[in-house]
Symmetry: C2
Subunit: 491 residues, 2 copies
């Protein structure tokens, strides 16, 4: 958006099919990138009956999903929801997902995702992913145990809680702690059972296009050598987002460029988006992303008070952490302190700078160089409200309201330039729900599909969002892409 992009942010030009002397290999469907979107696409393509080849640049694969906790956003009355006593419906889920997908979301993608959520749960079961029929009550980023169901988004937080009855929909597979790698391993085993070929250490940065404009294959680099691989039905780009490509982030997403901890695998360098752009695909929502700083756990920190440089609150602290962090950027110019008292303070995952520790709020205010009386007023009001169980300013849920009265008081510095802010991108190739890549004038690029973070998918804004919507949306639309490509007329 600022100055012109440099080479690393530029589209990747396709190769002309006529220039390919011989194809080293051929497959009906080629899937580029083995994360959760690629795994789902390949499984579905193979189940639809297509000969399918997966090309993955890493030694094993897994993408950003393998590095994640593995939460998946399901609803509408899953087996786990029912077993744990939660009453959900597709309609209820749709209301929340529509909000959580963000103001620029695609209504058709939201609708399809919710209407088919039970089927999508079954899909994961069918590839061997297990879910325990348990609910983990504490508000965490993810359960440290092998428990399943959590509130992973803004369902219980104002104003979302007013719009639809809160129900937990984050489903973490049955593994202690992080389960992202486990999901990928289940998929790899399923792919093996289905006879899908996976070629690792194979880097794809070039599409091959024929005279008619159809994508008919890729040029892969294996051991430093080029191999042209033909795809007779379609190429599916599931290469991830672009958070690891600093130049793309700087060019497209200035707010994300301020964050110092990219969430993604090495492969999240935008290669698929750039390949898509190079054949006329449109990239949309490119300035958006999720930003987060993990001020909890400990869950007790949600009882803290988040203030800007003026000592004012600006958000209910019990929202999804990405919404809270996004609000720090949007409403507080990237600068905020979490005020805690001795009874709720606990060790955080990352070491925040302790901006001040004092015996009184007045002293804390002074140490933070805030205008005299402002933080004192904020805390006086908050404590009164907490005492009564009614946060009149931002409607934090009563269960997280506790007067801050136990000295000493501390201010954790959550500012973007002084603490860890993690981020990933939410922009990518414009696609139909089927995964077909669209040009800027809404036409399909024949033979090309995209899903996962390489596309602008289900979820378009980090300030709405819920954990599990990325893996959920990426796998769901990966499946649709796989099915569509597998059924496409042979080129």
């Amino acid at each position: 958006m600022s100055d012109s992009p440099t080479s690393k942010a530029l589209p990747s030009r396709p190769r002309d099919a006529k220039s390919i002397e011989s194809w080293s290999e051929e497959s009906e469907v080629i899937v580029v990138g083995l994360g959760v979107a690629g795994g789902a696409a390949a499984i579905e393509a193979a189940r639809t009956g297509a000969d399918t080849l997966v090309l993955e640049r890493a030694t094993r694969g897994g993408g950003a999903t393998a590095l994640s906790e593995g939460t998946i956003y399901f609803g509408g009355g899953t087996r786990v929801q029912k077993a744990t006593g939660f009453d959900d419906s597709i309609e209820n889920m749709t209301t929340h997902v529509r909000a959580a997908a963000g103001p620029t979301s695609d209504p058709e993608k939201v609708r399809l995702y919710c209407e088919n959520s039970l089927d999508h749960f079954d899909f994961f079961c069918s590839v061997g992913v297990e879910f325990k029929d348990t609910y983990y009550e504490e508000k965490v980023i993810f359960p440290p145990t092998d428990d399943c169901l959590i509130y992973s988004g803004n369902e219980e937080a104002h104003p979302f809680s007013e719009e639809s009855p809160p129900v937990p929909r984050g489903h973490k597979p049955r593994r202690e702690g992080s389960a992202g790698g486990y999901i990928i391993e289940c998929m790899i085993e399923t792919l093996s059972d289905l006879g899908v070929r996976i070629q690792n250490e194979t880097r794809v940065e070039t599409l091959v296009r024929d005279e008619s404009g159809r994508i008919v294959g890729v040029v892969a680099i294996v051991d430093g050598e080029e191999r042209a691989i033909r795809a007779t039905r379609g190429v599916i780009l599931t290469t991830g987002g672009f958070i690891m490509n600093k130049e793309m982030v700087r060019h497209y997403a200035p707010d994300l460029a301020k964050c110092n901890y990219p969430i993604g695998s090495e492969g999240c360098d935008g290669s698929g988006i750039r390949m898509g752009l190079g054949v006329g695909g449109a990239a949309i929502n490119m300035h958006e992303g999720l930003m987060t700083t993990p001020y909890f756990p400990p869950t007790s920190h949600i009882q803290g008070v988040l203030v800007n440089q003026q000592g004012q609150r600006f958000i209910n602290e019990d929202c999804y952490h990405g919404r809270v962090t996004g609000s720090v950027m949007q409403k507080a110019e990237g600068r905020a302190y979490l005020i805690v008292d001795d009874s709720i303070y606990g060790k955080t995952m990352v070491p925040y700078k302790m901006a001040a520790v004092e015996e009184t709020i007045g002293e804390l205010e002074k140490a933070l160089e805030m205008p005299e009386g402002q933080l004192v007023h904020t805390l006086t009001t908050y404590n009164e409200d907490a005492e009564r169980g009614d946060d009149r300013l931002f409607h934090k849920a009563p269960k997280y309201l506790k007067p801050l009265v136990d000295a000493p008081f501390a201010a954790l510095d959550l500012s973007v330039d002084r603490s860890l802010w993690a981020a990933f991108t939410l922009g990518g190739l414009d696609t139909k729900s089927t995964g077909e890549v669209l040009t800027v004038d809404g036409e399909i690029v024949p033979g090309l599909y995209a899903a996962g973070r390489a596309s602008a998918g289900l979820t378009r804004s980090g300030r709405y969002y819920a954990s599990g919507m990325s893996i959920g949306g990426s796998s769901f639309f990966g499946r649709l892409a796989g099915r569509t490509a597998a059924s496409a007329t042979q080129g």
Copy 2:
């Protein structure tokens, strides 16, 4: 960004030169659209020696400029600045313009604009635009008199005032009240003197492209009939922004879509941007725009206190009105009240809903259904600070600080869904400083140029901005486009 664009938001496909049976006319340079960018481009092209033809869809032309007050942003020590005792330098101007152009601005465009500001002032003088050597001290949106120099942006407001010494740079031509139409009339007269042909009531929505990819002309509609007009050196799109195209606004700029008063002429329907997209041009910064609600004049309203639904202040009220309004959208979810007392209240240009009028701030707070004690606290703090001349929260300049103590007190509702919010777009075709239109991969579309709101120009964000940067930037880069096209090799 959301669902797929409909036809009115789609690129306009070019016509193949081979399909043109005969050209009805030919010119070296064709300028599409006679606003300030088009006028400047045509004058400069003609002065460079090129045969130049201007095609304008309206009966007279003028675009958004003719409807505006006509302020132009000049600095670096203009004749008017010197005569009125203001000391400016190119360096000082550059520091402020860099900030005012916004976080996604193009450093090269900022540099060129500032370094050549005195020459650009001379250009306007050379086309007969007069400026009175006077300074209008009161903070207004524009002087109602024929006076010239005003602070038209954020120069005096925190934090900008800390970054560079404040100097006024808004220059309004010597005409009572609005002077935009006058600027255009001066340009039309200059064009006439230069022998430039102007064809009115001529609508252009199609470019003509030859086999090599070069733009070689346009198809114009005159009296319902198509006429192919050849351009041997270049076509310059100066067709304005897209605020009048509801579908484009909804698709690209969701925040602007909430505003109910589009600022622009009928022609600001994105036709040029769509033509550029149709030949591979990239459109950037499309979600950005200027939003404003005119809460002043009266200037006394700047002494008011702007609060969100929680009764909190969130911005210094003496910023540029577009920055204040943009902050209402960004920081206060589009809802805010301007609190005034009896002594500063005055009639505004647009009728705001008076949300409440009460004898005490406590009663006002109650009437506005704000949490008890919040507005009272805000006003207590503000009044103490105003008394001392030191706004410790947001650093409003001392000259606008006055305790609000004269009952009754009123709350004017400035919310986006309850008052007039004007808006125009700040996104458009990606161009080099020379006006050459760039593709998504940074290559030039041969024969095609853009300037003014059809391009992403000098200024990229309404929350920084200054009045006069649009007319200033549009005319400056219009001139560069005119000069470049006029010197281009003949196609």
